[in-house]
């Protein structure tokens, strides 16, 4: 080889990494370290801070509102993982049928809601779920309202008594959590479907055929061939879904007109953090809440890694 190798000046890589590093240091690394310190302080706005030791954490553990937020967030996350993700997988299995025509068309339709964006989905849902004029209750009313005449014995005589049968839910008054779950389902089911659809391309078709020849029914083929092949992607999607669900904020906050809803039905952990940090102005306490949330999420990430290792999957 007669090629003369030219080296670059030593500063070049630092020049490329410099802008990122600078912004990273000021707006990520420093705030993160700062939040450790802030978690042990009590603030009155950004100007006044007082050291309080571990009081923020002990107060949090004794605050029923905190536990309401934990419970709501956990319920929402469970619904994402156990209701929404299986539906996404089901949809992906339908779209993966070899005989399906216009696959791109269906995929585009199911994917579209995620583009609306959380704040606008929340505002839209606020109207769709409105008790009297909302689309959902109007539709339920259309399909379920029945006027029936029930026979009833009154004073020895059988008379017809008119009775109106009607299903109408005060969604935003008494069914906040179902409202949130349905809205998020609408928004994300097609988005997560795309991951599963990509993962299904890893399923070995000849293995499926072999299993069919050996007499395995559809369910057994799914559990023994398809599921193991998509497991790495599935566990990644579960983790993403948990991380997203545990940071739920905009959807309930905007759906419920910047409140936590009746009886704090829509209070989530990040909304609790927001209320403490910005409505009450205690940024220190908000940092403490942030750390509790972060530790839970680190726990999920570690669990997913451990699970991957145990399964021998490379993630």
């Amino acid at each position: 080889m007669s090629r003369r190798f030219r080296q670059h000046p030593a500063w070049v890589p630092y020049f490329w990494a410099g802008p990122f590093l600078l912004v990273f240091a000021v707006f990520l690394a420093y705030p993160m370290l700062l939040s450790v310190k802030m978690a042990f302080h009590q603030n009155a706005g950004p100007r006044v801070a007082e050291y309080v030791g571990t009081q923020n954490f002990s107060w949090m553990m004794g605050d029923p509102l905190f536990w309401t937020a934990v419970r709501n967030t956990a319920v929402f996350a469970a619904a994402s993982v156990f209701i929404q993700l299986p539906a996404s997988l089901g949809l992906a299995l339908l779209l993966n049928r070899p005989q399906l025509r216009a696959r791109g068309f269906w995929r585009a339709i199911f994917f579209a809601p995620v583009l609306v964006g959380l704040p606008f989905v929340a505002i839209l849902a606020g109207l769709v779920f409105e008790k009297n004029t909302g689309l959902l209750n109007v539709a339920l009313h259309e399909f379920t309202s029945l006027e029936v005449t029930l026979p009833r014995k009154i004073g020895g005589q059988t008379l017809g008594v008119p009775f109106t049968f009607d299903i109408e839910f005060p969604w935003l008054q008494s069914y906040v959590m179902p409202t949130l779950i349905i809205s998020a389902f609408w928004m994300y089911v097609g988005f997560n479907m795309v991951y599963f659809l990509a993962a299904l391309q890893n399923v070995d078709k000849s293995q499926l055929e072999a299993a069919e020849i050996d007499g395995a029914n559809a369910w057994h083929r799914f559990v023994n061939v398809t599921l193991p092949a998509i497991r790495p992607v599935a566990s990644f999607v579960v983790l993403l879904s948990l991380i997203g669900s545990f940071q739920l904020f905009e959807l309930p906050y905007l759906l419920l007109q910047e409140t936590a809803g009746p009886n704090n039905q829509g209070l989530t952990l990040v909304m609790y953090l927001y209320q403490q940090g910005f409505d009450r102005g205690d940024l220190g306490y908000a940092s403490a809440v942030g750390w509790v949330l972060a530790i839970v999420l680190f726990g999920f990430a570690i669990a997913q890694q451990v699970y991957g290792r145990l399964r021998g999957a490379d993630l």
């Binding site: 802008p19 579209a112 539709a139 927001y274 972060a294």
Partner: protein, 284 residues
Amino acid sequence: MNTRARLTDAFLYAALAVFAVVTLVPFAYLLFSAFKSQESFFSFALWPTDGAWWQVDWGGFTVKHFRTLFVDAGVARATANSFFLASVTAVLATLCSAMCGYALAKYRFAGRGVLLWLVLGSLAVPAALLIAPGYQVAYWLGLLDSYAGLILPAMAPAFGVYLFRQAFISSMPDEMIEAARVDGCGEVRLFFTIALPMVRPMVGAFLLITYLATWNNFISPQIILQSQEMLPLSVFVAQLRGPYGTEYGLIMAGTLVAVAPVLVLFLLLQRDFIAGLTAGAVKG
């Protein structure tokens, strides 16, 4: 085709059709509500009719919500703000992370291992953890109520660095860089004219991810901005519910103004959208 296959087919298309209708009805509701007068909003769930559903009452439609939005409420300014914030953030964040990803992929330098470790480590930091300390830092730096307070923190997405590092490693051979250097190409020109075009799909995907994430970001502008005229659409439309609380048509018209550009773009660039957004795995 045997009967069983036919039945499976029928079931497949029926299931997809039902799902598609459920997915699309809220879009239709949004569209119709934005163009309906207050009276027809309360009388009809979707389109206004004279009797049967196919007898559309065209008189029930109106554009007056849009007139109110643009003339009285100042939605044009909010739209311009959103375009500005999303474009500037997308370009700067993409450039910053492409540059750093390039350094990590194609150079050997002291501190490279630490930098890579920092990037991967910060992928695990949840955004919510930075809300309170981020506000404190913005206050100290005098960035409250300024666009810099929104753009600067969004300029260094660790996730972008990771994606670009992968892209440079997998789609740009080292020999190419050496050849360019032998030909006397400077380092800066090398990056912009040779390296960056080689990862064009990732550039497109990441621009899109960041653009959409900024367009749909609510919490940062809600916390950082105070001046009414600086608000992007996300906060602006949410605030319409104050002065125009029961004018549902107007609120839907505002939502439509915010959502329509993204949806139109999606119809044009469908495949890139789906690949880009799921490559990015950015949720919410």
